[in-house]
């Protein structure tokens, strides 16, 4: 399965890229599997695991959201928010 993975803002900087197409053998595949593949053993991404938001094809998703071939998964920090 090919999944397009996107990252934004500080997460993209920590990851070192904004987008990648990744191939997975696992089936069924979930958002958590993609997250694991990206963040797995990278300490610079570890701090994001608890706070990042996830989406599948432009809709908010959870770790257990199932994926299909060609899906777009995005990982991003909480948005800038409401202080202003």
């Amino acid at each position: 399965m090919k999944i397009t993975v996107l990252a934004f803002a500080s997460l993209a900087e920590a990851w070192g890229r904004k987008a990648a197409v990744m191939s997975f053998e696992k089936n069924p595949l979930t958002v958590a599997d993609v997250l694991e593949a990206v963040c797995g053993d990278r300490s610079e991404l570890a701090r994001y695991r608890a706070i990042l938001l996830l989406s599948r094809n432009g809709e908010f998703a959870k770790p257990d959201t199932p994926l299909q071939d060609g899906d777009e998964v995005a990982m991003f920090p909480p948005v800038s928010g409401g202080i202003n």
């Binding site: 432009g58 948005v79 800038s80 202080i83």
Partner: protein, 136 residues
């Protein structure tokens, strides 16, 4: 009108486009980049969005507002890329026959946009830069 733009937001043109002769009230919110943030002098800012998702959510937000309040229309515009101090980063305009609905819908629009729509701000200082994230 719902849009992500790279150029200056033209408030006047937006309000003129939006308004119809049955509207009696136009409420606008203009979010402007400030020269200070958390005690540091800001030189300029960069906004980044997950554009396709942000646009989808902004359209949904506008539709929700139209369902909840008897308004005529809502414009939601966010600028991306580099902004200088004093420039508008976001503009929300609501037209309505009556003003109470326009105020409520406009506040709902900017509150929801800031909380939910995937757009991030990076501030640049004399001595560094920082993403402003999760500041609800």
């Amino acid at each position: 009108m719902v849009a992500l733009v790279n150029e200056r937001i033209d408030r006047e043109a937006l309000v003129c486009c939006l308004r119809q002769d049955s509207d009696g009230a136009i409420v606008t919110f203009d979010g402007v980049t400030r020269n200070h943030s958390r005690g540091k002098a800001v030189l300029y800012l960069v906004y980044e969005a997950y554009e396709s998702m942000a646009l989808k959510q902004m359209y949904e937000l506008r539709d929700q507002a139209r369902q909840r309040w008897p308004i005529t229309d809502m414009a939601l515009i966010h600028r991306l890329g580099r902004l200088e101090i004093g420039e508008s980063s976001v503009f929300v305009a609501v037209t309505s026959p009556h003003r109470r609905a326009a105020f409520e819908a406009c506040q709902f629009g900017i509150d929801t946009l800031k909380r939910d729509v995937p757009i991030w701000k990076k501030e640049f200082y004399a001595d560094g830069e920082a993403w402003i994230e999760g500041q609800e």
